[in-house]
Symmetry: D2
Subunit: 319 residues, 4 copies
C-alpha cells in the first residue's frame, strides 16, 4: 500500500519527528511512504513524491516541517478538491496522515465526504484547541519556549518596579496563556475563556504594591486583543511603568521537546496502523486519560474544545 | 493544622515548584506550612522552620531545592528516627509531604511503622524508577537537558566519521537512556533492562557504514557500567574513532520544564489534600493513565518499576 | 577606604558579575565595599549598606541586578543631589563605581561638578550607544538572546512563504538591530542611522520571491518606530503575509554570557584601581582596540556614539 | 579567479558562518568559489566542487561544517600531497582559505613549500591554542556551552554538600578550563599551564567547608589527565562526595554565538581579500589588540601560544 503524509495550516514543533517516524514506520511495515509537499496547495498542484529514508535523516531536532505547509483558499472550491483527489489517485495513494489543526480537519472532512479518501488526522497545533484530545502536537515545545522568554523577563523585572505584559499565541483558545500564567506564577492572566475583572485585580495589585511587591507580570492571549489595553490600564490605573513583549512566531519554532517527539511517534504509529488496517476511514486520533483513541472526524469537528476546569479554577487567583 | 515538606535523597528539577505550591496552597487552605531543611539529616537535627510566602517568591524557575536535601546514614538507626519523630512533635507537625525516590519512601515507611507519623510521598527522581507511577517529578526536565546535549553532539557528529558515546544517569533503571535513545534516533542504546547483542549490532553498523553512514550515536545508562566497554568495542570492532561524554549532574539541574512545574503543582495539591483529610495516612501518590492515585507506601515499596513494554520493544531496532 | 557600587538606569546582563567582582576585589585590596540600592532613587533615600561576601555568592549567572536600579526624576533637582551627596558622606564613601548608560553618566557628571564625589563609570547598556567605547556591558548577552529568538523564527519561516518582522531594543542607536541583521542573514534591517529605501528593497525582494525565495526576515530597531509600517509594506507592497515579534525586555534578561562576565570583571577591577589610586576622579572606562582606557566623563558625555562604518557598509545589502 | 575553502582537523562552531561568508563574498567580488569536502582527505581524493549560493542558505545557525572535515595520515606522505596539489590544479584553484588549527597550519606550510599553493589560514579551534592570535573561531561558542553545563550543575550543587568535577576540552592548552574557572567562580581549576598545589588548596577548602561552604566546583582541562585524580583527592582528602561530568564533544556543537558569527565574517573577508590581492601567499590571519593581522604561516607554526598572564594570575585564587 501507499500512504502519504501532509502538513496543513500553521506549523508546529513535532511535525518533523512525525514525518520521520512516518517514513521509517511505513517502510518497517513493508509499505510505501509518500510526501505531499506544501500542504493543501501542494496537494492541489500535485506536489506528491516518493519518500526516502535519507529525506528524514537528521530532522528530529528541527522545528518547522521539511515538507512545508500552507493554508489554501482554492481548497474551498470543489473543482480544486477534485483536482487534489485526482492527484492522490495518480500516485495510487491509499491513505493520508494529516498533521494539522481544526481548519485542516474540516478540509479533509469535506474532501472525504465527496471522494473516497482514507485519512487519519493527528492533532497538531500549538493552540491546543481541538475537541476530543487533551494534547495537540507542538504544545509542549511552545510552552517551554514561552517559559524561557518569561523567565528572562523575570530576571530584569526583579531589578525594577515595573509591569511586563507578555502576549502569547492563541486566537480563540487561551490554553498557552493559561498554562503559562500558572506555571510562571504570573499575577495576571487574560484569556478569551474568562472575563478579566479589572476592579478586583486592581484592588489586589495595589495592596500588593503597597506591601512591597517588586513587579507585575501579565500574560495575555493574542485572541483577546487586550494586550495594549492591559498595558494602558497598568500604567494609568495601577500606576506602574509597563513594557510589552509580543512573542509571535518564536513560539512555533525551536527544537521539539522530548515529549513532543515521543507523542509524535505515538500518534504517527497509530495513524499508520489505522490506515493499513481499514478502508473507508476518516478519523482523527485523540489523546485522553493516557490513551490514544480514534474518533470520527465529524465528531471532532462538531465539538468545541474547552480548557480543563482545574486550570481555569486555579487562574481565579485574583478573585 | 501544621504540615511540613521535606526533600530527601538526590535532588530533581521540580522540587522548587512543589515547595512553592506547598506553601501557597497550605496557606490557601488556612493551615500552617513548615520546612524541614536538609532532608532526613535535618529532620534528625531539628532543622524545622515556619515557612513564609516570601521564602518561595521567585523560585519556580530554579533547579535544585531551596530547602536542601540529604542522604542519611544515621536514619538507619532507630534512636535517630525517634529523635526525628520528637522534632516533628516539638513543632506540632501533623503531616509531612515527602519529595523523594525509593530510598526516601523506604525511610518513611519504617518511620511510620514505628511512630504515628502521617506522610504522603510525591515520586521525585530523574531515574523514573518508582513502582506504581508512570511519572516521577524531574524526569521531563532531565530528558530535555539530555536532548540538548545530544543535539549538540549531532552537530559536530555530522562533520566527521565518528562514534559518540553519551552516558546518562540511571543506576538500576535505564528509563532516561531508553527514552533518549528513541527520541534522538540513536543507533545504539544500552540499558540494564536489556541485553545488548554486540554481534547483531556490529552486523548492522558495519553494513550501514559501508553504505555511507556518517556517524554513530550510542546512549549508555550509567548503571550498566558499559560506557568504556562500548567505546572500546566501537573503536576496535567497528573501527571508528569514538568520543565519550559523561553527562553527570548536568541532568539534575536546570530550569524546570512546564510539564515538571504543572506536575509538581498537581502532586502537591493532592498530597496536601490527603494529609488534611486523613489521619494515620502513609501513602504515596502515583500517576497513571492520566490520573493521580494514592497508594499505600508499602505497596509502592514492595513493587519493582519496569520500563513500559512499548519503549523496550521499539529499542530492538538493531535486532 | 570605602567604595560603593550603584546600578543606574535600565538594567543589563553583566551587572551581577560586576557587582560580585566589585565586592570580592575591594576586599582583596583590603578596602571596604558598599552597595547603593535602587539606583539614584536609593542614593537620595540613603539606601546604602555594607556589602558582605555572602551577598554576592551564586549571582554570576543571574540576569538583572541584585542591588536594584532606577531612573530618578528627583535627581534633576539640586536639593536631592545634595541629599544624595550627604548620604555618601554619612557612610564615608570615598568613591563610587557607576554601572549605567549615558543618562547615568550625565547625572554623575552634574553631581561631580557640584560636590566632591569621586566616581568611575562602567559603560552598561544593551543599547551600546555610549561614546568612546566599542563595548558596553550587556550587549553580548542581549545579542545572543535575540539570536535565539530569530533562529526560532527561521525554523518556522522555512515551512511557510511568509515575512517576519522582529523588533529589537534600541531607542536612538540601531546597534543591536544592525549586528542581528548581519549575523542572522536578515533580508531587511531598519535602524535609525540609515535611510531604508523601500523602492530598492522592493525591487530585490520581488525578484528573489519570483526566483523561489522561501521567506523574508526583517529586523527593525524600536527607535525607528517603523515596525508596523514595515509590516504593512511587506503585506501590501511585497504581497506576503507578515507576522510581528516584539522582543521587549526578554533582551535585558538571561544568564550573562562568558564574554559579559569577563568584561564585567575587567571593567570592575580597573574602576576600583582607579578610585583607589586617585582623588578628584570623574572618569568612565572605555574599551577600544582591545584596551581599557579611562576617559573624562565630560568627554564621554559630549560625544556621540556611531555604529562602526564596516557594519553600516555591510548592511547596504539591498542597494 | 577561483578560490576554495577547506575545513581541516577538529570542527568548531563558526565554520558554517565562515563557509557562508566565503561563498557570498567571493561572488560579490566577482570571483568563483569552490568547496573542498572532507578536509585533507577530500583534497587528496579530489572532492572539489563548485559552490552555489543555495548550498549555504540557512546554515548560519548550525554547528559543525557542511563541507565536512577530517584528519589525514596520508597527507604525511609526499605523494599524497602531490596528488592534492594536482587536484587543485585540475580545478584551476588560485587560492585556498583554510579553517583549522595548528595541525592544519603545519600541513599547509609543508604543502606550500613543496608546491606553489596560495593559502590563507583562519585560526579555527575551540582549544584557542594557536600562536600569534588572541582568538580562534569557535571559542566563544564553546565557552558558552560549558557555561550552560556548569550553571546547571550549580543548581543542583547548592542543594547538597558535594563536589563536582567538570572536565573541559583542551589537550595542551587550558584556555577553556581557565576562562570557565574564572567566569563561573569555580573553587578549583586545573590546567596544563599551572601546577595545582593540593596542599594549599586543601588548606583553604577545609577552612571554607568548616565555615559552611555548601559545595565545591572543580574545572579540569582534559589535557592534564587529572580528572579522576582530582575526584579521588576530593573524596579521600577533602572528604566530600564527588561527581564527575565529562563534557566531551558537546563543546564542539551548538548554534554559533553572535561573536563567532561576526568573527567568522571578519576573518573570511580578510582571507579572501588577501588571496585576491596576492600571489605566493602563505599566511594566517591573527587577531590581536582589536586588529586582524596577516602573519607568515611559518612564524605562526614556530611560536607557542600562552594563556594571557592576567588570566593565569587571577587563577591563583587558592594561593
Amino acid at each position: 500500500m501507499a500512504l502519504a503524509i501532509i502538513c496543513s495550516g500553521g506549523d508546529a514543533p513535532g511535525m518533523n519527528p512525525a514525518i520521520k517516524k512516518f517514513v521509517d514506520y511505513v517502510y518497517k511495515r513493508g509499505e510505501t511512504p509518500y510526501f505531499i509537499y506544501d500542504g493543501l496547495e501542494g496537494m492541489i498542484d500535485g506536489k506528491i513524491k516518493y519518500a526516502h529514508h535519507e529525506d528524514v535523516a537528521g530532522i528530529l531536532h528541527n522545528g518547522g516541517a521539511i515538507i512545508g505547509s500552507s493554508r489554501s483558499k482554492r481548497f474551498y472550491e470543489k473543482r480544486y478538491r477534485e483536482q487534489a483527489y485526482r492527484n492522490l489517485q495518480d500516485h495510487d495513494i491509499d491513505g493520508v496522515v494529516v498533521l494539522g489543526g481544526d481548519g485542516s480537519y474540516n478540509a479533509f472532512e469535506v474532501l472525504g465526504r465527496e471522494f473516497p479518501v482514507n485519512f487519519v488526522g493527528i492533532p497538531t497545533t500549538i493552540d491546543n484547541d481541538i475537541y476530543g484530545t487533551e494534547y495537540c502536537l507542538g504544545v509542549d515545545t511552545a510552552l517551554n519556549v514561552i517559559r524561557w522568554a518569561v523567565d528572562n523577563i523575570r530576571d530584569t523585572a526583579s531589578t525594577f518596579k515595573r509591569a511586563f505584559v507578555v502576549e502569547t499565541m492563541g486566537r480563540e483558545c487561551g490554553y498557552l496563556a493559561a498554562v503559562t500564567g500558572l506555571s510562571s506564577g504570573a499575577e495576571i492572566c487574560v484569556i478569551p475563556e474568562m472575563n478579566f475583572n479589572k476592579n478586583v485585580a486592581a484592588h489586589f495589585l495595589k495592596k500588593d504594591l503597597a506591601e512591597g511587591r517588586g513587579y507585575i507580570l501579565a500574560i495575555v492571549a493574542e485572541g483577546t486583543k487586550m494586550t495594549q489595553n492591559i498595558k494602558e490600564w497598568l500604567e494609568e490605573d495601577i500606576g506602574v511603568e509597563t513594557r510589552v513583549t509580543v512573542l509571535g512566531h518564536i513560539q512555533r519554532g525551536g527544537n521539539p521537546t522530548v515529549h513532543d517527539r515521543m507523542m509524535a511517534f505515538e500518534f504517527t504509529v497509530r495513524a499508520v496502523d489505522l490506515l493499513l488496517a481499514n478502508t473507508g476511514i476518516r478519523k482523527a486520533i485523540s489523546y485522553r486519560n493516557g490513551e490514544f483513541v480514534p474518533m470520527d472526524i465529524s465528531e471532532v469537528n462538531n465539538g468545541k474544545y474547552t480548557i480543563p476546569a482545574n486550570i481555569l479554577r486555579d487562574l481565579h487567583f485574583l478573585d
